[in-house]
């Protein structure tokens, strides 16, 4: 599969994501934040983690308004799979492609740890690393109710009060299911020596 990997100044998980895709047999290509591309050029797109534009203004706020995101948005509307990991999730929320927003963790700390996760749609349980300071998922109570009613919550932290996210939400998807975002890092856990293989073929 031809997959675009978006890079912003401050992205730092791009090479991990690239290798993760290569090892799964895909053909990734880097996309720079100033690029525009034809939505037909790629079959899928990943927005990796990091600290795009130094988290200035708000995490993901500046990246969400960059040129490349206009093309990503067109791709999303055409139904192609888009995955946002960590800062990528924050960017997708800021760009309005996913509902809600990621705010500073409840205790104000940067969480660098493993997280046990559960997919409420199929009760699948996995374990992935997390590394974030702004991972507290927030949305209005109406929106959260809608997310549950429409089966858009796809990952929850198993531990209560992990980072203060509403309903322990770690990942959500759009109504059609093709745009997904999550705070944990599947690309950091897909080989035995990484401590978990749960990130293998995570999203397709």
């Amino acid at each position: 599969m031809k997959v675009g990997v978006v890079q912003f100044p401050g992205t730092n998980c791009d090479r991990d994501v690239f290798q993760w895709l290569v090892d799964q047999g895909h053909s990734p290509t880097y996309l720079w934040h100033q690029d525009r591309f034809d939505r037909g050029s790629f079959e899928a797109c990943v927005i990796p983690g990091g600290f795009s534009f130094g988290d200035y203004l708000r995490s993901g706020a500046l990246a969400a308004r960059s040129s490349v995101m206009k093309s990503v948005s067109e791709m999303a509307k055409s139904g192609k799979p888009i995955l946002g990991i960590c800062n990528g999730f924050q960017i997708l929320c800021e760009a309005g492609l996913l509902p809600g927003v990621l705010m500073q963790n409840q205790k104000g700390n940067f969480i660098d740890d493993w997280a046990d996760l559960k997919n409420p749609l199929n009760n699948k349980k996995i374990r992935l690393p997390v590394a974030h300071g702004d991972g507290r998922y927030f949305a209005s109570s109406d929106t959260v109710k809608k997310l549950w009613d429409q089966n858009q919550v796809n990952w929850c932290y198993e531990r209560a009060d992990f980072n203060g996210s509403v309903d322990e939400i770690a990942g959500v998807q759009c109504l059609n299911g093709n745009v997904k975002g999550l705070m944990p890092h599947p690309e950091r856990a897909y080989q035995n020596w990484m401590g978990s293989t749960d990130g293998w073929q995570f999203w397709i």
Binding site: L57, G100, V101, Q104, N105, K107, G108, A139, S140
Partner: protein
């Protein structure tokens, strides 16, 4: 040329982690403070006349200076 300020604060119903930390620190020093909210102040310099400036400020604020889900924004200087 005139200076304007966009004042951004977290909504009252949203947990303000920074504000809470600052409040706790001040309280630990026995200052009589009831509440602290930490926000942002953005300085914008414009050449336009006031009505044009109002338009520009409204637009740039709505297009991303604040996130209406969790913040409130107010323009000062108009």
């Amino acid at each position: 040329m005139k200076k304007y300020f966009v004042r951004i604060l977290p909504k009252d119903e949203v947990l303000d982690v920074q504000g809470r930390a600052v409040l706790q620190m001040l309280k630990s020093q026995k200052h009589p403070v009831a509440s602290i909210r930490v926000g942002k102040l953005i300085e914008v310099v414009l050449n336009e006349n006031v009505s044009q400036a109002q338009e520009v400020l409204k637009k740039i604020t709505a297009e991303g200076l604040y996130n209406p889900l969790v913040e409130v924004a107010e323009v000062e200087g108009l």
